[in-house]
Symmetry: C2
Subunit: 338 residues, 2 copies
C-alpha cells in the first residue's frame, strides 16, 4: 500500500473533509494516510469517527496556508505549514505522494521549490481530468501552472500528459491534440503554430489541432495548451454549467405547474455537475515535479478527498515520473524547426 | 428603414434560409433587404413564397464563397462573389450594412479589405453576443479576428465593445471586464497584465479582471480578450452545451421508465441551447470596420438570418461607428505604461 501525505488544512471546511476523506480512503485500503496539520485538532477530529485500526497517522504541522496567502510568500513565511510539511515528507521519502486542496498557487509553488522539477522538464504543468460525453476521460494541461508558455513547454506537456493518460486510464495509444481555433494545421496563434510543428515529430499519437468543442466529445484524450488558455477553459466550463443549471431551473419552473419534470431534471443535472467537477474525478495532478502531487478543489468534500488520495496512490504506483524522465530523455524534442 | 445587403449564399443550406429570413425581416419591417446572389436562383426561391410587395430586391452576384475557400484567397479569386458584392454595396453607400453567414474567415477578410478600418482602429474585432443566467446580454470580444494581440488592441476592443453594448442594449455604463485567470489585478499573462494597466485609465466602467465563470453569470457586460482565447471560449461553450445535452439525455433515460421528465427537460434544454447559440442572438458584429457587418453562423435558419438583419439595422441606426471614431479620437489611449 502506498503512503500518501494529506494536507489536512487545505479545504474551505478543513480539517473535516480531509479527516473524513482520509478515513474513507484508509477503509478502502487505497493508501496509508499521513494526516498533516495541528496534532491536537486532528486528534479530536479523528476521535469523532471510528478510525481505530485504520492506517492513518498524524504528522504535526503548526501553521496553515490560507486563500489569502500568495504562493511564494506563503511558502517563505510559513515554514511549518501543513502544505510544506506534507511536501517535505515526499522529498524525504517518507511518503510516496501528497495531496492538498489548499490555495492552488501556494501548492504549486511549494511543490516546485520543495521537490524541484524532473530531469528534462522546464515547467511542471497542472492537469485537469474530466469525463467526456462518450464516458471516457480526458486530460487537459496546462490549466494554470504556466500562464506564458513557449512551444517547447507545450511539447513537454504533451509527453507528460500522454504518459499520465496511458498509465492511469490504461490506453495503449492515447490521442493527443493541440487546443487551437480550427482543425487545419495552420490554424492557431504564433504559439500553437510553432508547437504544432514540434508535436508532429514526437513519437506519440498526435491527432493535430482540436477545438474547444472537442474537450467534452471524447474525440481526443489528451489536450495540450498554455496555462492561461487552459485555466480560462476550465473556469468557463464551470461557469457555463452553473448558468445552464440556473436557466434550466427557470425554464422548467416557468413552463410547468407540476414540479415533476424539474425534480427529475435537477437530479440528472446534479449528477452531471459532479462529473464535470475535476475534484470529483480525483483532483488535478501536477505533472513534472520530482514527486507525486495532486491538487484538490478548495470546496472538496470527503469523497473528493478520497478520490484525490486514490489518484495520488495510482500516480505513484504507475511510476509515471520515471517514465516521464525516460521518455523526455529518449524523445527527440525540439525538432519542430527542422 | 435601413437598407441591409444580405449575402444569400452564406449558410450551409443557402439560399433557402437567407430568402426566408429576408422575407421575415421585410414583413416585420426590420429593414429593406438587398438579396445578393445568382439572380435566377434567388428569383425562383422568392417565387415560392409570398414575397410580393415586400421591400426585397435582388442584386446579382455570380459566385459563392464556400467553406473550403481560405479567407484571403476567396477574396482575391472570387471577385463577383455574393459576399464581396454585398460588401461593395456598403462601401458604395447603396446599403447601410451587410450580413453574411458564410465562411467567417472570408467574411472578415472581405470586410477588412473592402471597407477598411475605422479611424483609430488597428484591428477590427469579432464580438459574440449571448445571454447570461440573469437574463441580461453579454458581449465577448475578440472571438477570432485576431489570434495574436497586443495590449493596445485589447484597449481598442474595450472601447468598441462598450459603445456597442451601450447603444444596442441601452445601458448607461456597461461593466467592462478583462478575461483573465483570477480577479486580483496582477493575475494573468504578459498580455493581460499590460492591457489591465491600459484599461484602468480609460473613461469607462472597468471592473477589472474577470474569470471564465463570469461569462455567463451576468456580473459583467463586456468581456475583452485576444481572439485566440475568445474563440476557444466560444467553442468550449458550444461543446459543453452539446455534452451536457447528451449526458442529461443519458441520465434521464437510464433512471426513468417514464419519459415525462426527459421530454420536459429536453424542451427546456433546447430553449437554452437556442439561447447560447450566438446566431440566434442576431449574429456576431464585426466591430471596427468602416461600415456595418454582421456575421451569422453557417447553420443559421431563417429566424437567425432575420435576427442578424435586425442586428445590422440596429447597428447602423445607432451610429455606432461614428461613436467609435469619436471616442477613440478623444480617449487618452496608451497611458498604461505611465
Amino acid at each position: 500500500m502506498r503512503r500518501i501525505a494529506l494536507d489536512a488544512m487545505g479545504t474551505d471546511a478543513a480539517p473535516q473533509p480531509e479527516v473524513e476523506g482520509a478515513i474513507l480512503a484508509a477503509r478502502e485500503r487505497l493508501a496509508e494516510v499521513l494526516l498533516v496539520g495541528p496534532q491536537e485538532l486532528l486528534r479530536q477530529e479523528l476521535q469523532q469517527h471510528s478510525a481505530r485500526g485504520l492506517p492513518i497517522h498524524i504528522v504535526h504541522a503548526s501553521e496553515a496556508v490560507t486563500m489569502k496567502d500568495a504562493g511564494a510568500k506563503a511558502f517563505r513565511r510559513k515554514r511549518d505549514s501543513s502544505m510544506r510539511v506534507a511536501a517535505r515528507l515526499v522529498r524525504e521519502g517518507k511518503a510516496d505522494g501528497w495531496v492538498s486542496a489548499g490555495n492552488t498557487g501556494a501548492v504549486m509553488t511549494t511543490a516546485k521549490i520543495t521537490l524541484g522539477a524532473l530531469e528534462g522538464v522546464d515547467r511542471p504543468a497542472l492537469a485537469a481530468v474530466f469525463p467526456t460525453s462518450k464516458g471516457t476521460a480526458a486530460v487537459l494541461l496546462d490549466v494554470g501552472a504556466n500562464v506564458d508558455c513557449k512551444p517547447e513547454h507545450l511539447e513537454q506537456f504533451a509527453v507528460m500528459g500522454e504518459i499520465y493518460y496511458r498509465v492511469i486510464f490504461g490506453a495503449a495509444r492515447p490521442r493527443v491534440g493541440l487546443l487551437s481555433i480550427g482543425e487545419e494545421d495552420h490554424k492557431g496563434n504564433d504559439l500553437t503554430r510553432d508547437a504544432f510543428a514540434r508535436l508532429k515529430h514526437l513519437p506519440l499519437n498526435f491527432v493535430g489541432n482540436v477545438e474547444g468543442r472537442d474537450l467534452y466529445n471524447g474525440n481526443v484524450d489528451v489536450i495540450v495548451c498554455d496555462g492561461f488558455t487552459g485555466n480560462v477553459a476550465l473556469k468557463i466550463s464551470e461557469g457555463l454549467v452553473e448558468a445552464v443549471s440556473s436557466l434550466l431551473k427557470q425554464s422548467l419552473s416557468s413552463t410547468l405547474s407540476s414540479k415533476v419534470g424539474y425534480v427529475l431534471a435537477r437530479k440528472a443535472f446534479r449528477s452531471f455537475r459532479k462529473r464535470v467537477d475535476y475534484s470529483e474525478y480525483g483532483g488535478a495532478p501536477l505533472l513534472g515535479v520530482r514527486g507525486v502531487c495532486v491538487i484538490g478543489h478548495g470546496g472538496s468534500n470527503a469523497n473528493a478527498i478520497k478520490n484525490a488520495i486514490r489518484a495520488a496512490a495510482e500516480f505513484a504506483e504507475g511510476r509515471i515520473n520515471e517514465k516521464i524522465e525516460k521518455e523526455l530523455a529518449g524523445a527527440v524534442l525540439g525538432q519542430g524547426g527542422s
